[in-house]
């Protein structure tokens, strides 16, 4: 906590810093207990039959038209591609990511399901996750201890950030850009921005590889390494704009655009003013 409070008070200089630190402390202790309980809950998700049944009901109404009545997937008429893929074995984590970020249910078929306001509430999402988890073994919803950067001990935080940054630049920036602003993929698809995405959802995305995103399994990219990546991403968000407004953090293209529009535009404006004739008087000068 000492480190955290130093950061907060120094960078934000907010009179509320103390309150925030207190809240963070509460969150942290609360998080630990919640972690313990949710770890159990996740394992139990599929064994809670009532929840599974509730999830099945929701699934039949909202998802079955694309994914099939038993989540076995629906193949398009030509048989080449899937209308909606099979969900057997995708795990609770995939459902939680897709549904909680509003990607599923899809509003209309397009190259990629965009992030949008979630359709189901938390309880319904849990029920859907439980149902899909009951279909076959798959990654379960991560615990907050796994994904929450706040669970990193203070004395390891700096090291975690540095390592997370290295993993981030090696595995993530190629698609999501150096600042997590997102980037283009072929055929109208794109890697979405990471700014403002929940730590839990970032973790789930790495774990399950939604849509075109590759999987980063826990065996290869260890849970604590994933957490480091999340810590780094969040630190990018928290950093002040050291050099001013970021202009979308898209790199030299937006810099060039602003250079021309504001720099050259402004200076040409000044040149016009400098060369413009001033107001003329009708009077004549007395010789």
């Amino acid at each position: 906590m000492r480190f955290l409070s130093a950061r907060l008070s120094a960078k934000r200089r907010s009179p509320l810093a103390g309150v925030v630190v207190l809240l963070m402390g509460l969150l942290f202790t609360g998080g630990v207990s919640a972690t313990l309980s949710s770890a159990v809950a996740t394992d139990d998700l599929a064994s809670d039959q009532a929840l599974v049944d509730q999830g099945r009901q929701l699934f039949l109404v909202g998802c079955a038209s694309c994914h099939g009545r038993n989540a076995e997937g629906v193949v398009t008429q030509d048989g080449d591609s899937q209308y909606g893929p099979s969900l057997v074995g995708v795990g609770a984590a995939a459902v939680d990511f897709q549904v909680a970020t509003g990607r599923m249910p899809m509003a209309n078929p397009s190259a990629q399901a965009p992030r949008k306001p979630a359709v189901y509430n938390e309880e319904e999402t849990r029920a859907l996750s439980a149902y899909v988890a009951s279909l076959g073994p798959g990654p379960s919803i991560p615990t907050s201890e796994q994904y929450d950067p706040a669970s990193i001990p203070d004395d390891e935080r700096e090291e975690s950030l540095v390592r997370g940054g290295e993993f981030f630049r090696t595995n993530c920036t190629a698609c999501h850009n150096f600042d997590g602003s997102g980037g283009a993929l072929p055929g109208g698809k794109y890697a979405p921005t990471l700014n403002g995405v929940d730590a839990k959802h970032i973790y789930e995305a790495m774990l399950t590889g939604p849509q075109q995103m590759p999987v980063f399994s826990d065996d290869v990219l260890k849970p604590e390494e994933k957490r480091d990546v999340i810590a780094y991403v969040k630190s990018l968000e928290e950093n002040p704009g050291y050099g001013g407004f970021s202009m979308g953090a898209l790199g030299p293209v937006s810099e060039g655009l602003f250079g021309w529009l504001i720099g050259i535009g402004g200076l040409v404006g000044f040149a016009v003013w400098i060369a413009a004739h001033t107001a003329k008087s009708e009077k004549r000068k007395k010789a």
Partner: protein
């Protein structure tokens, strides 16, 4: 008002020796500068906003020198590996080059360091952008014509050196983005036939990235290129002073004079003031807009890359062509020729620069015009020249956009591949269309000028004649405007020659002559020539007659009160 003021005609009236006078005397006793000074202190510069575009480039260069010196005080051009222990928490303990670590130090530990870095980078972008717009102004107005061709060539070289200077500077911080840029430059060098790998190994001192490229680029960036730039800028300015600035035609402004304000004090104040304005705008941009946030890119690592890896804007055009090139790679006798790299990245810039650099000579060869020109032309007065540059700009602009195709795709939710396919067609078709449209447009504007000259301008007043016909009332334009429009050369459209003499024997240069005659014909044939004095007078007489006919009618308004071009103070607007 005093009568005519011409340069150096006003006698010096210093009566008592002032301190400044004493200092001037001291200097002149030793360097004898009064002779040169008397000619230049009151040297006349014409006033027009478009004449200040080059000044933006000049002042940006001065800002680059000032801010650059500041940065050299802390920057360490070394690729030696260090373990970072500075203020930026996310990298503490990370291995990186000294160059990158010192860039972080400038950004985070030197007060004003980040500001200076950003000022330096913005000034670099403005420097090259201003050279571009200055080039366009000079081109579109024909200011490159004799006797200024050499200055045009010097200007083109300045543009080339400026871009190289920009690229070397972009590479120095050794961050992930600039390292990726160098990696691409390495790939481009390797694509050269025969000598490619040698070029790469010699520049990088071995295999990429090696450990010498940053110090080498540093020497080039802070010594070699600025020296060349300074020398050429000096030559550019000296020629400008010697030739005297071009001016727009107008009453009293001819090929033989230059009308404007004196160097001292008006231009000193305006140009000097403009320096502060350019510096001020750059500083404000440096304060508010984050440019090249190297701390976000991370130290260079050849196994890492970021989405949105682009060069600075001035390299965008060949980046664009590199992106849209089809995958042309050929094996010739066991050797590999990667044309999809070599053509866009190595050949295109050379070809484009050569076309621009030698344009004045090409145009001169076509038109055969060897006279001196000091009056500017409006773009419409040389439709082919204008259309040529518009086509070139279209080509450049499309490539520029193609260089940011991934950003376009992500910002406008477009399909990356479709942008690329579109651009492949557009860079060929677009310039041709642009040429045709711009050329016709310019000719239409010529016709419009002719119309104004012969039939007057449209007042916007609609008249109904007694038999019900509606016509718009035209009024003659002012004498000054009419003179300005006619202050251009009368062109003679040459006849097409066969290149043969009367006996049908082709001259040794027949082919060349025929080509030239055809080009010349194309150059001039569709232009509208200004009227002769007789034609103009006939037209005016006719217009006068029309007005007189209507003068007796009840609705005598000729419309001049309503067109906003005349002072109507004290005039009775309507008789009824």
């Amino acid at each position: 008002m005093s009568s005519i003021q011409t340069n150096g005609k006003t006698a010096a009236t210093a009566t008592k020796p002032s301190k400044a006078g004493a200092a001037a005397t001291w200097v002149d006793d030793r360097v004898g500068i009064a002779g040169a000074a008397k000619k230049n202190i009151r040297k006349v510069f014409p006033d027009h906003w478009s004449f200040m575009l080059g000044e933006i480039a000049l002042w940006s260069f001065v800002i680059l020198l000032l801010s650059g010196v500041f940065l050299t005080l802390w920057f360490k051009p070394s690729m030696a590996e260090v373990i970072y222990d500075g203020s930026y928490e996310q990298y503490r303990g990370l291995h990186m080059s000294e160059a990158y670590a010192s860039t972080l130090e400038i950004s985070f530990d030197v007060r004003g360091g980040l500001l200076m870095r950003q000022i330096h980078h913005w000034a670099a972008q403005l420097f090259i952008a201003a050279m571009f717009v200055h080039l366009l102004r000079v081109f579109f107005t024909g200011a490159f014509r004799k006797p200024r061709e050499l200055n045009w060539v010097i200007g083109s070289l300045l543009l080339l050196l400026g871009i190289l200077e920009g690229f070397t500077g972009y590479s120095l911080p050794d961050d992930l983005l600039s390292g990726t840029g160098l990696r691409i430059a390495d790939g481009i060098m390797k694509s050269s036939p025969v000598i490619g790998t040698y070029l790469s190994f010699f520049l990088f001192g071995g295999e990429f990235p090696g450990d010498v490229i940053i110090p080498r680029l540093y020497a080039i960036h802070i010594l070699l290129l600025p020296g060349l730039l300074l020398a050429l800028i000096g030559a550019h300015m000296m020629l400008l002073v010697y030739h005297k600035h071009t001016q727009w035609p107008g009453p009293g402004r001819t090929e033989q004079n230059v009308v404007g304000y004196p160097m001292m004090p008006v231009y000193a104040a305006k140009a000097g003031g403009f320096f502060f304005i350019v510096f001020g705008v750059t500083a404000l941009m440096g304060a508010l807009l984050s440019i090249n946030p190297v701390w976000k890119y991370g130290p260079y690592n050849p196994a890492e890359v970021t989405a949105g890896s682009q060069p600075d804007w001035y390299m965008g055009f060949n980046e664009g062509l590199m992106r849209i090139m089809p995958a042309w790679e050929y094996e010739i006798g066991g050797f590999t020729l990667p044309l999809s790299v070599f053509l866009p990245a190595a050949l295109l810039p050379v070809v484009l620069l050569s076309v621009v650099m030698f344009y004045p000579f090409i145009e001169q060869w076509i038109t055969g015009d060897k006279r001196e020109h000091h009056l500017l032309q409006r773009p419409r007065e040389a439709p082919n020249r204008t259309a040529f540059m518009v086509a070139l700009m279209t080509f450049y602009g499309l490539l520029w956009a193609a260089g940011g195709n991934d950003i376009l795709a992500v910002v406008f939710r477009l399909d990356l591949n479709q942008i690329t396919y579109f651009m492949r067609v557009a860079v060929v078709v677009g310039p041709v269309l642009a040429f045709i449209i711009a050329r016709r447009w310019a000719i239409s504007l010529q016709r419009h000028d002719q119309e104004k000259l012969l039939h007057g301008y449209e007042t916007g007043v609609i008249m109904r004649s007694p038999d019900g016909e509606y016509t718009e009332r035209h009024l003659p334009i002012s004498e000054a405007e009419a003179f300005t429009i006619t202050a251009r050369d009368r062109e003679e459209v040459p006849a097409l020659t066969s290149g043969e003499d009367v006996n049908g024997v082709p001259a040794p240069t027949a082919r060349k002559d025929r080509l030239r005659a055809r080009l010349q014909h194309f150059w001039y044939a569709d232009n509208v020539q200004k009227p002769t004095r007789a034609e103009l007078e006939a037209a005016r007489h006719h217009a006068q007659h029309e007005l007189e006919v209507h003068a007796g009618e009840e609705h005598a308004a000729d419309g001049h009160q309503f067109d906003g071009r005349h002072d109507i103070h004290g005039e009775e607007l309507r008789k009824h």
